[in-house]
């Protein structure tokens, strides 16, 4: 019994070590843990001698789980998988090797002694340790684990239930002539069945709820996103139409003015202004004219010689008009709240870019980190869309600075490349 106990301790420690080799983790031997292993080995020995071999086999599996949990800190799935794998392979080699050894010994010595059994166990343990060091065994087991990891928990639950029933079936077979044991096994079968039905029902309802919630969240997210885009479109359309009007002929302007009125957008006063300039200058003039009674101190410096419509693609021109309209509206609204009411616009260019700088006085309480975020506004609710819609653009960029009491927006747009 002592020899058997020693062999079990070595076997337990070796299999824990093999777990570390397979999962590429360090096997830390500490006294407290070794003592626990020794205790488990002693219990295994007692089970083997006092109960039977089958009980010992299942006890060993239970003990391996305890030991791997003791030595390594892995999630449950990994622990169960690798422990089972090593137990199964170890068990298989154990059975095969013991059978071969017993056959050979019976052939030559007619008797299998305890010492021979223990020596065979040691040899087997060394063999298993070397086997699991083979790179391809580890790679294969990892690949299999990766596949198994994707199996849902419900499937694991079914596997365990089936295994349990199989186990009870085996036990029932071996206790076929024992009425009491048979009743107990039957009781456990019914209990397992009831619990499994309950769990299946709960899990399936939960799954339905999760699927429904997921769909609702996705739909809600889509709706919110669409709603935001719709709000931004409605908010910015007036600036897009103003941009078109800036290069339109008289007839087109009238049609556009009619559209603006039809959709109840904030009307531009272009129909009230005679000889409105074309292009960006006309756009700016509209904004100034609509605020002429509010005593805003405008200063406009246009240093460029190019006609913007000719040096930008239609897409960029449209976006520029939209961006300029939003920035100007914000600037005028902000500057009207100040005593000085100053608004300066400078339009400059270099070889590659057009720059439009809008500087205005302002008086406000601002959350600097929130500027440009969706729905952040210093106006009433329903705003907070303009800056958000223009900040994310790359073809027409906006750089915003606050310098003391001045708010500055610099719009930068790349000119068309001149073909050689």
């Amino acid at each position: 019994m002592i020899l058997y106990g020693l062999a079990t301790i070595v076997g337990y420690l070796n299999l824990s070590w093999i777990y570390g080799i397979t999962t590429n983790q360090k096997f830390n031997l500490k006294l407290r843990k070794v003592l626990i292993v020794v205790f488990l080995a002693i219990v295994s020995t007692i089970v083997s001698f006092k109960i039977n071999v089958i009980a010992k086999t299942f006890y060993n599996l239970f003990a391996y789980f305890i030991m791997t949990k003791l030595f390594y800190n892995n999630d449950k799935k990994k622990l169960v998988y690798y422990t089972l794998l090593i137990w199964l392979i170890g068990g298989l080699f154990d059975v095969v090797s013991m059978s071969i050894v017993s056959a050979i010994i019976m052939l030559f010595y007619k008797k299998v002694t305890a010492i021979i059994t223990v020596i065979a166990t040691f040899i087997l343990q060394i063999f298993l340790n070397l086997l699991f060091r083979i790179k391809y065994i580890r790679i294969l087991s990892d690949k299999l684990y990766n596949k198994i990891e994707q199996i849902e928990n419900i499937v694991w639950f079914y596997i365990v239930i089936v295994a349990l029933f199989f186990l009870f079936g085996i036990l029932a077979y071996f206790n076929i002539d024992n009425f009491t044991n048979g009743i107990m096994i039957l009781f456990f079968i019914v209990l397992c069945l009831s619990i499994s039905i309950y769990f299946v029902h709960t899990i399936s309802i939960e799954k339905i709820y999760n699927e429904t919630s997921k769909n609702l969240l996705e739909n809600n997210s889509f709706f919110v996103d669409q709603n935001t885009k719709n709000r931004i479109f409605k908010h910015n359309i007036i600036h897009k139409l103003d941009g078109v009007k800036s290069v339109a002929n008289d007839k087109s302007k009238k049609l556009l003015d009619d559209l603006i009125e039809e959709y109840n957008l904030t009307s531009s006063p272009s129909k009230e202004v005679d000889n409105l300039p074309n292009g960006i200058n006309g756009l700016i003039c509209q904004k100034i004219y609509s605020n002429k009674s509010k005593k805003v101190d405008f200063a406009i410096n246009n240093y460029i010689k190019s006609e913007l419509f000719d040096v930008l693609t239609p897409k960029k021109y449209n976006k520029l008009c939209e961006t300029l309209g939003i920035c100007l509206d914000n600037a005028i609204t902000a500057t009207l709240k100040t005593k000085e009411k100053i608004l300066q616009i400078a339009i400059l260019e270099n070889q590659d870019n057009i720059f439009i700088k809008i500087v205005n006085t302002f008086k406000s309480e601002l959350e600097i980190d929130e500027i440009g975020n969706l729905n952040y506004t210093t106006k009433t609710s329903g705003h907070g869309l303009g800056l958000y819609s223009i900040f994310s653009r790359k073809d027409v960029m906006v750089k915003t600075s606050i310098i003391n009491n001045l708010f500055e927006n610099q719009i930068i747009v790349k000119k068309n490349k001149i073909k050689a």
Binding site: K357, S364, E365, L366, I371, F391, T400, I402, N404
Partner: protein, 242 residues
Amino acid sequence: MKSVIKFVVVDDEESCLNNVKDIIREVTFNLEEEVKIETFIKYSKKLEKEINNVSERKIYILDIQLDDKFSGIQVAEMIRSVDWESEIIFMTYHDKMFETVYRKVYEVFSFIEKFHDFRERLKKDLKTILKKNCDNKLFVYQSRNVDLKIYLKNILYIYRDKEERKVVIVTDNNKFTVGLGVQEILEFLDSSFAVVHRACIVNKTRVQKYHWTDKYFVLDTGEEVNMLSKKYKKEVLCSNEC
């Protein structure tokens, strides 16, 4: 090593340039600092390089009407794109035409008419600038979308936002909430600021009176702020004396 003050004069008239140089020499005669004067008749690469060199303390004296594709206003714009600490004085023929907007927009110190008491006015303005020691240090904070720059002299006080880990910077006209703690923002400030409460830092140069017993201070704007703690009295008084 002596500190340097640089005067950059941009005017297309040679006679005016020489006149300004004489005035500068007259005003800076007794100064301890080393004085350098650079003159330009128009915008050039050399002037651009001078503007972009922000390591020196500068006073720009610019003619608005330059006989060139770049006006004085554009030169001021270029200066302010890299440098908010240097002072700018504009020389102009036109009374008041540019004053209001550009004074604010480019933080122009003054506009001086060339044919109306020019010499005396320029001398007076230069003396004022030199006396106030060109105190234009900036508090700079960058968020994802916005760059914030405030002259330290314009900050009245800073207090901690109750709800979130942010501070509110109070200036003469505005309040800015930034994502910094009280201790973090101290690193951006100079010795003119003092902690007067565990949740408040004040610009000492803007305080009219401290009421330690009643736990409030009064600013030069007349505002009373109830964030004063006796715990910090000794430090504040000591730093004022120093």
